[in-house]
């Protein structure tokens, strides 16, 4: 197991800066997920940790040792690639053994580790097949097997489930969680899928444009997003965002649809702000503030439904909950929001907390 410490890390390709001044501590034995839209630098960061990309600036330490110039092979880590990167001309058994043979490990030990990994991943019947004879899910298992036979102190995953179909992705997600619980090794996992991030992570790092937007547990990110980007990125269906005007002198917020009101938190600058409310927190009927709207669309998902309501200003509000499917498009409804469910963001998109909470 290993803890990582990243200080002022930068990656530049010529004049193009991908990552700049990044600081991050990764605790021993945690499952850390790097999440963000494409091009946010999450894969680059992972590849720098792996030793596949040079570090332009700053330091990367594993267990207190600066490893900037330590080659990938001597960082004692394994990596699972999005493409699986299985050697196509080798059988599954040879794929699993290849890395161990590099280490000049005794044959019996190689055999034992390969057998153990195959048993744990239930790929024993596949050991003598070549990768092209495997399904996507089986390839993924072999790729994970190749990572665990080396018994490294650090596992890196680069979008390992992206090439799988939806059903298999859910299944492998569960298996990865089980693997983590069994090994309790430090794992760093890159994905653009926020559901994977939420379900697997001990902590999530949200990246955008090579910068960290927020680091926290899935619960922290969901309940207290640090800025508009994180609020919009984490959570499915997506959070509702209402642009509002600020009356700083009166300490009130003006919404075109919900009128003027005071919230628990109020920005101290600018003339505009954004109020965010999770779809499951929107009320049908009166709330602390209410507005009239018209149902545009109802999406029935079985146990629950999504209801899109057009507000007079042209904004759309999304509800998410059970028993909403009796609503019909064109229907007039009253919608309500409660202050406690509101996330308030100032004109720069930064979260504003209640004075009381900030003091605490």
């Amino acid at each position: 197991m290993a803890g990582l410490s990243i200080r002022n890390l930068a990656k530049r390709y010529g004049a193009v800066s991908v990552i700049e001044g990044l600081d991050l501590d990764i605790h021993d034995g945690e499952f850390l997920v790097l999440v963000g839209p494409s091009g946010c630098g999450k894969s680059t960061l992972l590849r720098m940790i792996a030793g596949l990309e040079e570090i332009s600036d700053g330091t990367l330490s594993i267990d207190g040792q600066i490893v900037n110039d330590v080659p990938a092979a001597r960082r004692d880590l394994s990596m699972v690639f999005q493409s699986y990167a299985l050697y196509p001309h080798m059988t599954v058994r040879k794929n699993l053994a290849f890395g161990l043979q590099n280490l000049k490990m005794p044959r019996a030990e190689v055999q034992r580790r390969v057998d153990d990994a195959a048993r744990a991943l239930q790929i024993e019947p596949l050991l003598d097949r070549k990768p092209r004879q495997l399904s996507g899910g089986q390839k993924q298992r072999v790729a994970i097997g190749r990572a665990i036979v080396r018994e490294p102190k650090l596992f890196l995953f680069d979008e390992p489930l992206s090439n799988l179909d939806a059903e298999l992705r859910v299944q492998m997600r569960v298996e990865l969680a089980a693997l983590y619980n069994r090994l309790k090794a430090t794992m760093i996992y890159v994905t653009h899928d926020q559901v994977e991030a939420m379900t697997l992570a001990s902590r999530i790092v949200v990246l955008r444009g090579g910068k960290i937007e927020q680091v926290g547990t899935p619960h922290e990110l969901y309940t207290r997003p640090a800025n508009l980007f994180v609020a919009g990125f984490i959570g499915s269906p997506k959070i509702n965002m209402l642009p509002v005007n600020l009356d700083l002198a009166a300490g009130r917020i003006h919404s075109a649809d919900f009128g003027a009101f005071r919230t628990i938190a109020l920005p101290d600058k600018g003339s505009t702000a954004t109020i965010c409310v999770r779809p499951e927190a929107v009320k049908l009927g009166a709330g602390d503030v209410s507005a009239q709207g018209k149902v545009r669309l109802v999406e029935y998902l079985g146990s629950e439904s999504l209801v899109y309501v057009d507000l007079p200003s042209g904004e759309t509000l999304l509800f998410h909950g059970a028993g909403l499917d009796s609503h019909k498009p064109g229907e007039d409804v009253t919608v309500g929001l409660n202050f406690a469910d509101m996330h308030v963001f100032d004109c720069d998109g930064q979260r504003v907390d209640a004075a009381l909470e900030q003091a605490a």
Binding site: G51, L52, A72, A73, A85, F98
Partner: protein
């Protein structure tokens, strides 16, 4: 039947130039040469049927035939592996991601275009002559060079060097093959602590095997057919002391210098059989060392 032709008319239309050329220009001479191989024919009087006499003479009494085989096999055995090694080495250098790869590709391919030309063969004679550039270079180090082409024991190697220098077309094919090996296999190997030589022998070569095989077969056939450079460098005779008596040079001389067209035809068919057998051997062994990515099970 009519529907078949109507549906495939465009294809056959495109094939027409080749089909016309093959049937009018190639097939006739090919069949004629098979027949002429069993005759004595001096291109003036009518061919006279002699049965297997040409073949019997070739294998039992013609020492120059065996010499030509020796020269040609020596050349093939040296030139093909060396050219392929050269081609692969340069392809791997270019694959490292040089900035002006397009330019280098063109420069490295240039000798292959020039190589078959008469001008280069003449240049080669001048370079390896007793007063040639090679000896002038050696003289800088106080080494007294010999006439590399005029000395029977070294002349074949000047041909091999020329062959190595013309590595362009197998190099381009190797380069395309290397490009098709996924980068992340090497990254996975890197993380697994695989040394560079082991990466080459355990990943690059096995994955490149289909391309190596393709190049090998092509180059073997090419090497057996080597003619114009050998013809020029040996003054058209296979000199010195028959050390450059390539099979094709011998065949050409029999046909167009001594007008033994019947015998030359027999020689041509023997060369065809030799190339066919060696290619067949290559294919037969390939199943032990060539792995195809998309092989059906």
């Amino acid at each position: 039947m009519r529907r078949f032709f109507r549906r495939n008319a465009a294809g056959y239309l495109f094939l027409t130039p080749w089909l016309v050329g093959f049937f009018l220009l190639a097939l006739g001479p090919i069949l004629a040469s098979l027949y002429l191989g069993f005759t004595r024919y001096d291109m003036v009087s009518d061919p006279r049927w002699v049965g297997l006499d040409n073949y019997r003479y070739m294998f039992e009494r013609d020492r120059r035939f065996w010499k030509a085989l020796e020269v040609t096999f020596t050349y093939v055995a040296l030139a093909v592996p060396l050219r392929l090694a050269m081609a692969l080495a340069v392809a791997m250098l270019l694959d490292k991601g040089l900035r002006s790869i397009g330019m280098y590709r063109a420069i490295f391919y240039l000798p292959s275009i020039l190589g078959a030309s008469i001008a280069i063969a003449i240049l080669w004679r001048a370079m390896f002559g007793i007063d040639g550039v090679v000896n002038q270079f050696l003289a800088l180090f106080g080494i007294q060079g010999i006439g590399w082409i005029t000395t029977p024991s070294t002349s074949i190697y000047t041909m091999v060097v020329l062959a190595m220098w013309q590595f362009g077309s197998p190099m381009l094919i190797f380069l395309a093959g290397l490009r098709s090996i996924p980068r992340d296999l090497y990254e996975a190997a890197e993380i697994d602590g695989t040394s560079r030589p082991r990466q080459f022998f355990r990943i690059t070569l096995p994955l490149l095997a289909p391309v190596v095989f393709f190049n090998l077969v092509l180059q073997i056939i090419e090497a057996f057919k080597t003619f114009s450079s050998a013809f020029i460098i040996s003054n058209g005779t296979g000199a010195p002391a028959d050390s450059l008596l390539f099979y094709t040079v011998y065949l050409f001389n029999e046909a167009f210098r001594f007008f033994r067209m019947g015998y030359a035809s027999a020689l041509a068919w023997v060369l065809l059989v030799i190339i066919a057998v060696i290619t067949a051997i290559a294919f037969a062994t390939s199943k032990y060392w060539v792995h195809y990515e998309n092989e059906r099970d």
